[in-house]
Symmetry: C2
Subunit: 325 residues, 2 copies
C-alpha cells in the first residue's frame, strides 16, 4: 500500500513500537524473544539472557521538584529492573547512560549516583559501566541484563486462567497527587507510604522469580493496570476481564482514604496510575501463590474488559502514555 499523500499519523507510543518492530523485527538466530515484551531473550549456550532498557527523562517521567536526585536515581533503576521481575529473571548487572544538563554539578551527580547505587545494592544488580553525555535535560537510561532458564512473557495467558495482582497499584499515583496538591500530611502514615511508593518503588524480583513455572504470563505495571492488562490480552490473543469486586478487595488499605482526600476514585487510581511496578500475572487457580490476589479472569476473545459490580462490562481503556502526554 502506498503511503504517499497520506496525512502523517500522530506518533504515539504504540505506533512508535509498531514502527520499531517493523524496522528491526527480522528474526535472527539465538534471539528467542525480540521487540514487544518486557525484555528481549537471547539464547547463549544453556543460558537465557534477559535484557532490557528503560529511559527516564526529566519533565516527561519526573520533575526535579517532586523528588530528590537520589530518588531519581533510585526509581529509574527500579523501573528498569522491574522488567526483569516481570520475566522472572535474576539480575546480572546494569549499565547507566546519563544525559546531564549544563549546571549539573559534581555534587548533583554524586546524589543521583547514590540513589542508583542504593537501588543496585537492593536488587543485587551491580552497575558495571555507562556513558555520560551533555544534554538539555536530565535523563537516565538504564540497561539491565539478567538470566532466566524459562522467562515469563506477556504472551502465555490462556482462557480459564485467573488474573492475579502481585504488589500494590494506585499508591504511587496517589502519592504524587498528594505531593503536587499540597495535601501531604506530616506524620500521616498513609500519605507517607503513598509518596514513598512514588519516590522509592521496588521491583518485585523475588516474587517474579517465584512465579516461574507457576504463572502463564506476566507484565509489570508501569503505565497503569488497565493499559498493561490490555498488553497481556494483545500478546496472548485472549480477553482479560478485570472484575470490580475482586479488584476492590485487592486495593492497598490506605488507597481508599487517600483517594477520598484527593477527590478521586480509588479504582481509577488503581486502573490508571502507573509506576508502582506491581506485576499482573495469569495462571491456574490451583497454582495461585499466597502473595498473589485474584483480580479477574482470562477468557476467549480480545482486549481488556472491565466488569462492574452490577455485572455490566465495558472495554478498558486508559493508563498513562508518557509518550503522548
Amino acid at each position: 500500500m502506498s503511503r504517499r499523500g497520506r496525512a502523517p499519523r500522530r506518533l504515539d507510543e504504540t505506533e512508535a513500537v509498531r514502527l520499531f518492530a517493523r524496522a528491526f523485527g527480522t528474526p535472527a538466530p539465538g534471539i528467542e524473544l525480540g521487540i514487544g515484551d518486557d525484555a528481549a531473550v537471547l539464547a547463549l549456550g544453556r543460558e537465557r539472557l534477559v535484557w532490557t532498557v528503560d529511559g527516564q527523562v526529566e519533565k516527561t517521567h519526573f520533575e526535579r521538584a517532586w523528588v530528590t536526585l537520589a530518588d531519581v536515581g533510585f526509581r529509574s533503576f527500579q523501573a528498569a529492573v522491574s522488567d526483569l521481575a516481570a520475566m522472572g529473571a535474576r539480575p546480572l548487572a546494569a549499565l547507566s547512560a546519563l544525559s546531564l544538563p549544563r549546571g549539573f554539578s559534581g555534587k548533583d551527580l554524586e546524589r543521583l549516583a547514590r540513589g542508583q547505587a542504593e537501588a543496585a545494592r537492593a536488587c543485587r544488580c551491580p552497575i558495571v559501566g555507562g556513558n555520560v553525555a551533555r544534554g538539555p535535560l536530565l535523563s537516565v537510561t538504564t540497561s539491565v541484563l539478567g538470566t532466566a532458564r524459562r522467562p515469563l512473557t506477556r504472551g502465555g495467558a490462556r482462557p480459564g486462567d485467573e488474573v492475579w495482582l502481585v504488589g500494590d497499584v494506585g499508591l504511587a499515583a496517589a502519592g504524587l497527587a498528594l505531593f503536587q496538591s499540597g495535601r501531604m500530611r506530616a506524620r500521616d502514615r498513609a500519605s507517607l507510604r503513598a509518596y514513598t511508593a512514588f519516590r522509592r518503588p521496588r521491583a518485585l524480583l523475588a516474587r517474579g522469580m517465584a512465579l516461574v513455572g507457576v504463572a502463564h504470563a506476566a507484565i509489570d505495571v508501569s503505565d497503569g493496570l488497565a493499559l498493561d492488562a490490555g498488553r497481556i490480552a494483545g500478546a496472548s490473543a485472549c480477553r482479560i476481564v478485570l472484575e470490580q469486586r475482586a479488584l476492590e478487595r485487592a486495593l492497598p488499605a490506605p488507597l481508599v482514604a487517600l483517594a477520598e482526600r484527593l477527590g478521586r476514585s480509588a479504582l481509577d487510581l488503581a486502573l490508571t496510575g502507573g509506576e508502582d511496578y506491581a506485576l499482573v500475572v495469569t495462571g491456574a487457580a490451583r497454582q495461585r501463590p499466597r502473595f498473589a490476589r485474584r483480580i479477574g479472569r482470562c477468557e476467549k476473545g480480545r482486549g481488556a474488559v472491565w466488569e462492574s459490580a452490577d455485572g455490566s462490562s465495558r472495554p478498558l481503556a486508559g493508563g498513562f502514555d508518557h509518550f503522548a502526554s
Copy 2:
C-alpha cells in the same frame, strides 16, 4: 577530607566518570571488568559477555542539518558497536532507547530506524528491543552485547610495545568541517570520502576480532587520537609516545589535501578529530598485522607524549570532550 566549603568543581567527562566509578565501583562476583574501559566484561559460565552503551544527543553529538536521520541512526549504532570492536568482541545483539522530540513524525522514526537497521545488518548485530520516550531533543542510546573469550582492554600496554593505528583518523573531522564551511565539492572523491567517514563510520569489528591474542591493549578513537592514546597510557600505567614521522606516514591519503583546503593541519585533524572509530592498539613489533600501521611506541613512564620530527617532545593534550563543550 571534608568537602564542605569547597567551591563546586566544574563537571567534565573525566570527573563524571571518576564520580561514577566511585559510586558504583564495588567489585562484584562475575564482573571481570567494570567502569573505565570501552565496555564491561561479565563472566557467564565459560563465556565472557562484553557489554557497552553509547548515547548520542542532538546538538551535542550531531546537528540535524549535518546529516540525514538515517545517518543519525547509522552512526549512533556504529559508535556503540565500535566499543565491541576495541575489545575484540563479536556482537550478539543491541537495544535502542530513543528520546523523540515533539513533532518527530512516524516517517522521521522510519528514517532513523532505517539507518539503525542498516548498521545492525552490516555489523550482524540485530536490534532486539528498546524504549521510546518523549524528550526535548532527539537522542539515541544504544546498548550492545557481545561475546569474547579473551577481551582486549585498555590496560595491557607494556613498555617496548609498538603503538599501532588500525583504520583512518582525521577524515571524519575533515568531512564535517568541509560540510560546515561549504567547501564540499561535488564530484570530488576526497571530500566525499571524508564526509562519508563522518556520516557513515564503520566499526572495525573484524579487525578487532583479528587482534585478539595478538594485541596487548586497544581502544577505539571516538574523541581523538591524542585523548584516546592518553587513556591507554593511563589504564596501562605506561607512557605512549606518538611519533610525528610515523603518524605522517599513516595519514589517510586525502587528508593532507583536504586539510590544506580547510586551512588546517592534517596532523591536528588526525590528533584531535574524533568519530572515525579507528583503533589504537599496542603490541609486539613482530606481531603487527598487515592492516596495522606503526605510529609510536610504549615506554616506561606516564601519559601520552608527542615526539616531533626534530626529536623534541611535549605532553599530548587535546581531543574532543563532548561533555565540556
